[in-house]
């Protein structure tokens, strides 16, 4: 892989103390020496988890930027033109909303529900704050969403809709559940007991970007991996439900999947979807229960391992285009997987690669996640367009990622070809290079 000369230098590579966020949403407990009580504690019990975070906010507003990507704006909601730099829409505002509710200074309104849900939960705010103060606005957002759901004033209608779809069809797209594996051309025995690997396809992959699933299965076959799929027993991982405050529903679908996978006795679960990966990676901490008996891997981790061990040997150039890599939030910033996708790309012969300016820990969110694509398509489109503009700015002609949801949103905003960019998954490039 040759690195194309950057137009804008990455300053973060000069610093060796870049932290990544370690929060795991709501499993933090307040420190024992913070004993603040508020007048409305009993009225909003679900805000208790956010208290410790919110009281530490310094109101500096750095949550909307990236300190190590040349101080670029890095919060999609605070950059969105109609809400440009409004405090309510950046991390600081979520903390202030929590404090305002707990002190009785403000009451929940439809606009505050909007404030809570007009957010990708990308975690840039948490990262920026962790570099100075260390409060976690994501915890405040999740607490607000949960509170509003319990009050019956949330989630937005679009989220209720996909929640019903997940209940009925086991996917948020209202697609027939029997079509989940319709894309699967190779003969794979579903629910094979004792297989080494369970490939969890997710929802967006099979129903919206089946080419990503194709590439995954093709690579598993090329590596002679012993794998199976859940077939008709695969339900939505529950991540969209969890992110939108519908925790009971999320738990139900998550536990169904865990039970079915455990029955098979597989040792590893892999998925190509960053959202599914994070859900399985952290689910037992969110929903209780014990850690799954199987190892949870993102496909980039498995295939990076296969490349290192020689099980996969790329042979040919995958593309002449200049490739950049978009870090999915659920894989990168939230969990810390940055290297493996890049290792995959670096194994592809003669690949020309360039990093985004806002990359790795400081990646700009594609805009799709946490229910935004359904309820606020204008924000999802804005964020994706900004990312595509950034790709052009750094000189890329192919945008790769490691999440079908990112790929989907970026593709939708490149549909008219206005940026001249090709968008795909890193596994598709790897698969091409195997031929």
């Amino acid at each position: 892989m040759t690195e194309v000369e950057r137009k804008i230098p990455l300053t973060y590579k000069n610093i060796d103390f870049v932290p990544f966020i370690t929060h795991a949403s709501l499993d933090k407990t307040p420190r024992e020496w913070v004993n603040i009580t508020f007048p409305k504690d009993n009225e909003y019990p679900d805000l208790a988890a956010a208290k410790f975070e919110a009281v530490r906010c310094w109101v500096c507003g750095q949550c909307e930027m990236s300190s190590m990507a040349n101080w670029a704006m890095n919060c999609p909601t605070a950059t969105y033109p109609a809400h440009y730099r409004q405090a309510a829409y950046r991390g600081q505002g979520k903390h202030m909303t929590v404090l305002g509710l707990l002190q009785g200074f403000i009451k929940p309104t439809p606009e505050l529900v909007d404030v809570a849900y007009f957010c990708n939960l990308c975690g840039n705010c948490t990262l920026q704050c962790s570099m100075g103060i260390g409060s976690d606005p994501v915890v405040s957002v999740m607490a607000l969403r949960r509170t509003f759901v319990k009050m019956g004033i949330a989630p937005p209608a679009a989220h209720r809709r996909f929640a019903n779809y997940i209940k009925e069809y086991h996917n948020p797209y209202a697609e027939p559940p029997e079509n989940r594996f319709a894309w699967l051309k190779k003969s794979v025995e579903p629910q094979k007991k004792g297989a080494e690997i369970l490939y969890f396809a997710g929802c967006t992959g099979p129903y919206r970007t089946p080419d990503v699933c194709d590439a995954t299965v093709s690579l598993l076959s090329a590596a002679n991996a012993d794998f199976t799929v859940l077939g008709g027993e695969e339900w939505c991982c529950g991540s969209p439900l969890y992110m939108t405050g519908l925790w009971e529903e999320a738990k139900e679908t998550y536990e169904h999947n865990i039970a079915k996978i455990e029955e098979l006795g597989v040792t590893r679960l892999i998925t190509s979807c960053a959202g599914c990966y994070r859900q399985f990676h952290e689910g037992y901490r969110k929903f209780g229960g014990s850690k799954p008996s199987f190892e949870v891997l993102h496909s980039s981790q498995l295939f990076s391992e296969y490349l290192s061990s020689g099980r996969l040997k790329p042979k040919s150039k995958a593309t002449d285009k200049v490739v950049t890599y978009h870090d999915p939030c659920h894989l990168g910033r939230h969990v810390g997987v940055f290297d493996e996708p890049r290792e995959i790309l670096s194994n592809i012969p003669e690949l020309k690669f360039v990093e985004f300016e806002r990359t790795a820990h400081h990646a700009w969110c594609c805009g799709a996640g946490a229910g935004v694509m359904s309820a606020y398509p204008e924000l999802a489109n804005f964020a994706a367009t900004e990312r595509l503009k950034e790709a052009k700015m750094v000189g890329a002609s192919y945008v790769s990622s490691a999440c079908p949801f990112c790929v989907l949103n970026l593709r939708r905003n490149e549909e008219s070809g206005k940026f001249g960019l090709e968008i795909g998954d890193i596994l598709q490039l790897l698969d091409r290079s195997m031929r």
Binding site: R56, G61, A88, G100, G132
Partner: protein, 521 residues
Amino acid sequence: MPNELVLKELEAIVGPANVISDPGRIFSEVYDAWLQIFPGKPPKMPDYIVRPANELEVQDIMLMANRYKVPVHVASAYSYKLPCYSGILLQTVRMNRVHEVNVEEGYAVIDAGVTFNQFYRYLRSKNIDLVIPVTTAPPNTSIVANFLFKGIGMNMTSISDGNQEAIMALEAVLPTGELVHTGSWSLPISSCKYTFDLGFGPQLTRIFVGALGTLGVVTKAAIKLWPKPKALTVKLLGIKKCDELAKNLSKVMYTKLAPNTSGGHWLLLVLHGTNIAPYWGFDQKKKLYDLTDDDIAKMREYYGFPGEGTQYFYILACTPHYQSEDEAKLWEKYWSAYLSSHPEVTELTPDNCPGIKFGEIEASLKMYGGIGEGEPGNQRIRYCGWVPGHIWSFYGSVGNSALPKLHEITWSVGRKHGLVPALHTIPINEGRVSHVRYMVPIERGDGEGVKKYAAFFGEVIPRVIRESGFVPARCFGLGAKVVSQHMDPGFFELYQRIKRAVDPNNIMAPWLGFNIPFEYG
């Protein structure tokens, strides 16, 4: 009081998306949780927040406000929350265009809402190697607002770090809606309209400096730019006594050991030794204000600071700018000569202070400190030593020679009340004055700590004003009361006359300034 007619007019001027009327969203903008005691009183809130895009919309807003006699408070991102009791909060964040950067003549013309980070990204994208004076502001704050904000905190002003010198001319909308240009910009055909602050008659640009929006809305400014330094070194100097600190502050400036690239505006941070945990590496479990003399002694031992026992220790962080690496090397011998002739100063190094994370501090100073790289803000250094909790602080200016007296009073009063007032200072006005901030950490929600601070504050403020000539910044309440007892009455009178002349309806932030009676109709 909210007024539907006012709301409709605002929406007609700027568009509905740029008017915020929901109390929950307004709350997030105005709530100053930094200073809040929990649980506390509700903040004063404007009825509406309006975000104009240009000076024409600002003019329309001011004309409307005069018609309805609605108070208007102007702010940029409003990160520095002066009280806004009602009416309209006018935010300049959408006025964020860089109109011109002239490399040969070293100036830029920018909108009032252009932020430090935005401006630096603009300069980088054009490969322009110029910088603006550093401030202690966060990078996402307005350049113009910071340069103008030297100001009347209720009654008194004292944040004067020389940055106002960077403004050479400005455009403003008066409270009555007229658009004015100051300096030579008042003659639009002038060839020095952006580069010469004197125009015709009095220097009217300065009327807006420190006025905190009480005399009009600044919409654009022509600011100075300086060459970016080519080399940077960081020197950490340990000094035992405050009077020695003050003397060395002056000497280092006058002997030009630490030259700068922006006319005297460079950052020296004096970090009182107890400021340093935990960021600088000392891992102590106690709440900072529970530290005893033994703890301070242990901290000294841990870091290897010069001095003995609980004797206070100071670190002077110097970040000289040089025009080349060769120049930086040349100055090293001058530094060596200075240090050998000043035994009261010890250069702190990894050898003699193994507990300090030098690499991290240096990287922070270079990257975040608005120094060297020319990056804005210095959040890490500013928050250096803060433990999770809350900091109450007071700040202002003092003549350099009075710094030891100020510190002696503050420290002794602080310790008497069981607090640890940590000093942080920046030299301003070419080293003649110290802009001082005392940080006093208290845990959030700790009622006892708050009482201690209230007692400390009540005692220390009158004393430092009277005994060391401290000029408090952002001065409300007690500080304003003390200062007003000594203020030149002619100064009040002059301000009030100017205010009445430019703002006959008293609509621009009537609760700031010198308490001219306000009637809201």
